[in-house]
Symmetry: C2
Subunit: 417 residues, 2 copies
């Protein structure tokens, strides 16, 4: 019997009416002959409301207690969704991560999934029930409540889809799919019908907020097709899968903007094996996630400059750590630049097409935008620019790669193009 | 090392400021040399807000899912209280019922405590932490989330105090103790300094809402003194304990009013052994809690009339069940009377003092209030009256037993006396 995992985000569950709508979708899939597992986020702004409550109590709450607090949001959603399915005359049961047996490591607020116990799931699905799982949450081996990071209900859904060998993992959201860039910034953005895991992964990492990266990793690793679609309409959204029919033709598939970044640069790093490893091990040890890393050497290879981008929220901690390391490792100096953004072009086969990088740099030059750092990989070119230039940079690159949708009605009314 | 259990109700946790106040109380007890276990309810109106949410989804939610929903309220409170204690520089840890190991039966919404695992508690207390437990909730043997009934955080606290051999169980609330009757209805009511478990139990059962009956049962059974006191002041409240110094002098210690009742009467019940048992077994089987039962016989003992009072919310279910039983057992007829209240006088030694019952009946007669049913026990006399007469009945009886506080300033301004 085929199985589908459906995930509903907070905006798709922000009222009783929307919860009933999610319930009806699950029921329809069941009536279509699927076994159905639902993964739900906290309702609307519930997580932010809980964070506001904790801020009223103190500014730096213990992470364990923050996890204890935040996981209530999803518990409310699973109970209400189960009630809605019952009210429509179908069998459903809600399960917390503890009841399901979704085990993680013990890193509060940023836990990673270790293992999912199938027993309870299989038992409930065999009893013909729709099973509703609280997204975002887990428990560690000693029963402590953990969370997987903001937006990680996607990850819960993809992990469940992997474990259950789901036919498909459906991500219901308030947009109708993945776009060539953020349509709120560039109204000419086009919806993408199919995209590969790798390109989607780079787009998510480069700032496309529609999907949580770790969810895509699960999809890729276990070969689960992920369907990103609107919770309000029945239209086909974007299919994230292994091979896409359009792969050969398209070069740049999407353009992204990642804001609220800072760049930390270490100048005059003695160029010895293991130094970079030591720096990033130290940051990793403090659970600081580093964005892109750029290194180049100078002075006949005796010294290196290393820079990396990082979320603004981690910037001062990371800067302090690097200053300590600089003293230990005799690094010339460490600088912190706040207020920068990263604009990236993503697509399979970019490197084998000549001119992709130069098209991007030229677009920025014509818009008179200075590029700070550049980093490239097989399918991504990223440039760090001033925050104030971010949106203009995104628009010019989107246009330069011919991604603008000239049929879009918003074309006429958007002066920014 | 002596241990104290402190329980804070929803009104004592309705804002960040009040949560900090509760945290300070716990810290003060710790600095005074106690091991401290806190039990907290959901903040302010949180439980009612959650019920309203579920009502938006459907009118008759599955009880299991309602428990899943409602227990989030206490989980929010334990996390915030732990944060407040941390913010004040002390060690604390919050635990859900599942993490603690507070096991109940599987009757959702009305579960009863079976067993509390001390291991985690002892471990955290030995680490010098203040332990914060979510009241009201439990888990059954298969890990399903249960609740103990509205107001049952008191019960959680008393049960923990019993298991941990606590020096005292402190119930912090928005009133400064137990009164001779509800001071909101009778401003002349007096605070009681000491009261026995038995009298308190009868007063709670008869409608005094300050404490949850089952909490008092735990206190009595395991000899834990319960101190009901205000969360806003440091004054002594009411001590519920085994022996009270004033027991010999006082006859009627309190007067209570229980509203929202109905009376079901079965007329012409063939007077055979086992019939009453069958009726109440059937009601118990449907988890309907019966209030007082009155039976008398007539026609040379061939027939009996049985009536019982019951909460309005259970009245129609109970009435239907009794009508079915009436057909099976050839009972003449079954009537349901809605809209009644019960007024009770409670006190040790009432039965051995002549004139207690007649004082009560006379007070009602002088107030021209008709008495429907009467039931008495060793320490209680209860009369069922029309709901519309309830408050007047309470005031006249409180006055008739000399309980009015003539020093009360409200004495002058209350025209109802």
């Amino acid at each position: 019997m085929r199985l589908v995992v459906q995930k509903f985000g907070g905006t798709s569950l922000s009222s009783a009416e929307k919860i009933h709508r999610a319930a009806r979708r699950a029921i329809r899939a069941k009536l279509d002959g699927y076994r159905v597992v639902l993964v739900v986020s906290a309702m609307g702004h519930a997580t932010n409301d809980l964070l506001a409550l904790s801020n009223e109590i103190c500014t730096e709450p213990p992470k364990r207690e923050l996890d204890m607090l935040l996981t209530t949001g999803e518990q409310v959603s699973i109970a209400l969704t189960a009630m809605a399915i019952h009210a429509a005359g179908h069998e459903a049961i809600s399960l917390t991560a503890a009841q399901l047996g979704l085990y993680t490591d013990s890193v509060h607020l940023r836990a990673r999934i270790k293992n999912i116990n199938r027993n309870r799931l299989d038992q409930e699905l065999s009893s013909n029930r729709i099973v509703i799982i609280a997204g975002f949450q887990g428990i560690d081996m000693s029963g402590e409540i953990t969370t997987l990071g903001r937006g990680a209900s996607d990850t819960t859904a993809a992990a469940l889809a992997a474990v259950l060998h789901a036919h498909q993992c459906e991500i219901y959201t308030d947009v109708d799919g993945v776009y060539t860039t953020d349509p709120r910034i560039v109204p000419q953005a086009k919806k993408i019908d199919e995209i590969s895991y790798d390109v989607m992964l780079e787009m998510a990492a480069a700032g496309a907020s529609v999907m949580h990266s770790r969810a895509i990793v699960f999809g890729k690793k276990f070969g689960v097709p992920i369907h990103v679609r609107s919770s309000m309409t029945d239209g086909k959204g974007t299919m994230i899968m292994n091979e896409t029919s359009s792969m050969e033709e398209v070069v740049v598939e999407g353009v992204t903007l990642k804001e609220d970044l800072a760049v930390i640069s270490l100048h005059g790093v003695p160029h010895q094996a293991g130094l970079a490893a030591r720096i990033f091990a130290e940051l990793g040890h403090h659970h600081i996630l580093v964005d892109d890393i750029v290194q180049n050497i100078y002075d006949d290879g005796k010294y290196a400059n290393i820079s990396f981008s990082i979320n603004t929220s981690d910037a001062s901690t990371a800067h302090n750590l690097c200053q300590q390391l600089a003293r230990d490792m005799i690094i010339e100096n460490v600088t912190l630049e706040q207020g920068v953004s990263k604009v990236s072009a993503v697509g399979v086969g970019m490197r084998t097409h000549t001119g992709t990088a130069s098209t991007m740099f030229e677009a920025l030059a014509q818009a008179q935008i200075n590029i700070k750092n550049i980093s490239t990989s097989e399918i991504v070119i990223s440039c760090i620019v001033n925050s104030t230039d971010g949106v203009r940079a995104l628009r010019s690159i989107h246009n330069a790669f011919g991604l603008d949708n000239h049929d879009s009605p918003s074309d006429q009314i958007n002066p920014a193009r």
